[in-house]
């Protein structure tokens, strides 16, 4: 559908937006304060949003900060991503029972769940969801669990008006401007005595919901203010990745000494893979009860940083930490392109913030590029 002209919502209408979503039967997930961080959890009112809070993110550092105003979306990305709902960390695939002479896999369908409404998706989050769509539903086999959740999600995106020091979506072309894939997109405009949202509908159901809220048409000034706010976020970004020929660059530098340097720092803690919105690797675990009569197969998140990830009879193929870090970064920035047609990275910067030793993927790319060998290795 063609994008409608934007409307303006007063801040109080945000509560109505959430109420309407709840009424329509959605479980609303939005940013909220929990344990010293802003995370994406179930919310039921606008009061639960982190008004007046922001975050300071640096390599290996995350701190909440008070803002001078009451903006509710004045923070950057959470320590987790929306994949925890779309591609859950623990899922039971099926259960089975022993029967005379054999077994029976029970026809149990996953428990029906309320559809989600995600409130507060950033451009990088939307880009990450597009990446996961390709990985999990764009191939010969379609992941029914992901597809089952994803198809019904109502997406309320938020334009970033402020970038964290760890953000680098601008250099990857994945943000900060939200372009597509949303039902509604909000740009928060806070000024002295004024707190409003510029809203665009990106789908029929988004337009329908918007029509049910009290709104005024957006003026030229409003539209301009929103543009400036997003441009500010882009300009604030201090990190970047030069993606020119990055696939060939990383393929050709398998033996670059920088990997040894990384090996000395990386703890193989797997934090980066947990917080990364596009990391999708899982493992399968078979469990039985004590009698051995009932079995279940569970799927859990896994990480290429573990030794068991690449274990085949006799040992792990990637035994060294060096090989495992190299695998993660090369996959994310290079092999992903061959596998799925795009980069696996969306520039959200979570891996930089949440690495306990502050490894900065943008710096690593720069270091390899600067002293790269060219040609085949």
């Amino acid at each position: 559908m063609a994008q409608q002209t934007p409307r303006m919502l007063e801040a109080e209408q945000l509560g109505n937006l959430i109420a309407v979503l709840l009424q329509k039967g959605y479980e609303v997930i939005g940013p909220t304060l929990r344990d010293g961080a802003i995370v994406y959890r179930r919310i039921e009112s606008a009061e639960e949003l982190p008004a007046g809070w922001s975050d300071k993110q640096e390599p290996a550092r995350y701190r909440l900060e008070r803002r001078e105003d009451h903006a509710v979306f004045g923070h950057a990305v959470a320590p987790e991503s929306w994949k925890k709902y779309l591609h859950p960390a623990e899922v039971r695939l099926w259960s089975a029972e022993r029967q005379a002479g054999g077994f029976c896999v029970l026809n149990n369908q996953p428990q029906p769940h309320k559809p989600y409404a995600f409130l507060g998706l950033r451009a990088c989050d939307l880009a990450a969801i597009r990446v996961l769509d390709r990985v999990l539903t764009g191939n010969k086999y379609r992941d029914p669990i992901y597809a089952g959740v994803r198809d019904g999600v109502f997406m309320v995106a938020v334009q970033c008006t402020r970038a964290a020091a760890t953000c680098f979506c601008a250099s990857l072309g994945t943000g900060p401007q939200v372009q597509q894939g949303f039902d509604l997109a909000l740009t928060e405009l806070v000024g002295p005595g004024s707190h409003r949202f510029l809203v665009r509908a990106g789908s029929d159901r988004g337009a329908e919901l918007l029509a049910g809220l009290q709104s005024a048409p957006a003026t030229e000034n409003d539209v301009q203010a929103a543009k400036v706010a997003v441009a500010t976020a882009a300009a604030q970004q201090v990190r970047s990745v030069n993606t020119a020929d990055i696939r060939d660059l990383l393929y050709a530098n398998f033996d670059h000494p920088r990997w040894d340097n990384l090996a000395e720092r990386c703890l193989a803690c797997a934090n980066c893979t947990m917080v990364c919105p596009t990391c999708f690797c899982t493992t399968v675990e078979d469990v039985t009860d004590v009698n051995g009569d009932h079995a279940q197969r569970w799927r859990r998140w896994d990480s290429c940083f573990t030794l068991s990830f690449s274990y085949i009879h006799g040992g792990s193929v990637r035994a060294s930490g060096k090989a495992r870090y190299r695998q993660w970064m090369t996959h994310k920035l290079a092999s992903w392109i061959d596998q799925f047609g795009t980069s696996g990275c969306v520039g959200c910067g979570r891996c930089i913030t949440w690495c306990p030793v502050g490894i900065d993927i943008t710096e690593e790319v720069r270091a390899i590029r600067e002293t790269a060998s060219h040609g085949n290795s």
Partner: protein, 280 residues
């Protein structure tokens, strides 16, 4: 929007174990049949299944039966750990779970009209056996067949009766060697590449299919090139850790490839730069 249970690739189907035959002190061949009649057991030579033992675990195992037989499947399993031990310890009449078949098999189309050189090391002969059956049962579609097979010692040789039978076939040469020969072994001793000097090869007409430990495949492919085969006429079967076998879990990645769906059979020119990369 959920997948039908019958076609859900993550759900195992029940197969009854008909026979567990001992091949060597640690290797056994399971013969299984689908519990549900009409359950298709067809596969392409070179493909694999995920075999599941209730309450123990699941593993990728190459299918090593005759592709012309549609009622059952055979798997040659080496007992090296808990799950493989559980598989080979199944009694006839018990049930195992089977998912699959998965993967890209040997290039039967490209092989038509060509001489086939099969080079196998150890249990690598298992995924090649369906290919050999295919060639022998469709003799006119293929040229000469040369089988070079190496194992650790004489008692580790698989399918000895069949190897002898194949050797008697038309336009077929079977050569066997072991790394460690005992005094009663009258055959060749040495690594499998030492068999090339006895093989009657016409390199330009040949397609090679190789399977065995990765190190073995490295030196075999080098030798095949030295013998004059073109890189695009050499195929290998690789393996890596697998959990889902359908390209989602990410475990089997090898450079940009997923061994479960882009392989396990790869053409040599495609992966040549990867095989030399340590800890890829």
């Amino acid at each position: 929007m959920s997948a039908q249970p019958a076609t859900d690739p993550m759900r195992p189907r029940a197969y009854i174990v008909r026979q567990v035959a001992k091949e060597t002190p640690d290797t056994f061949t399971l013969k299984v049949e689908a519990e549900e009649r009409g359950n298709d057991s067809s596969f392409q030579p070179g493909q694999f299944s995920m075999l599941w033992v209730f309450g123990v675990g699941e593993l990728p195992i190459s299918i090593s039966s005759n592709p012309a037989h549609h009622h059952g499947l055979m798997y040659t399993v080496r007992s090296v750990g808990q799950a493989t031990h559980a598989l080979v310890s199944q009694a006839a009449g018990s049930t195992v779970g089977v998912r699959g078949p998965f993967g890209k098999g040997w290039p039967l189309e490209a092989a038509r009209g060509r001489d086939i050189v099969v080079v196998a090391g150890g249990i690598g002969l298992a995924p090649l056996r369906p290919l050999i059956y295919q060639v022998l049962q469709n003799r006119r579609d293929y040229g000469r067949l040369v089988v070079l097979y190496g194992a650790r010692s004489p008692r580790d040789l698989l399918y000895r009766k069949e190897l002898a039978a194949w050797a008697r076939g038309d336009e077929t040469q079977v050569l066997i060697t072991v790394d460690y020969g005992g005094l009663s072994w009258r055959g060749h001793v040495g690594v499998v590449t030492t068999l090339f000097k006895y093989a009657r090869l016409q390199p330009r007409r040949s397609l090679a299919m190789v399977c065995g430990p990765e190190i073995m495949m490295r030196f075999v492919t080098r030798e095949l090139e030295t013998q004059g085969l073109a890189r695009q006429d050499i195929y290998l079967s690789l393996e890596r850790n697998m959990k889902c076998a359908v390209g989602f879990c990410g475990h089997c990645q090898y450079g940009p490839y997923f061994i479960c769906k882009d392989g396990p059979v790869f053409r040599w020119d495609q992966i040549r730069p990867l095989l030399d990369k340590y800890e890829l």
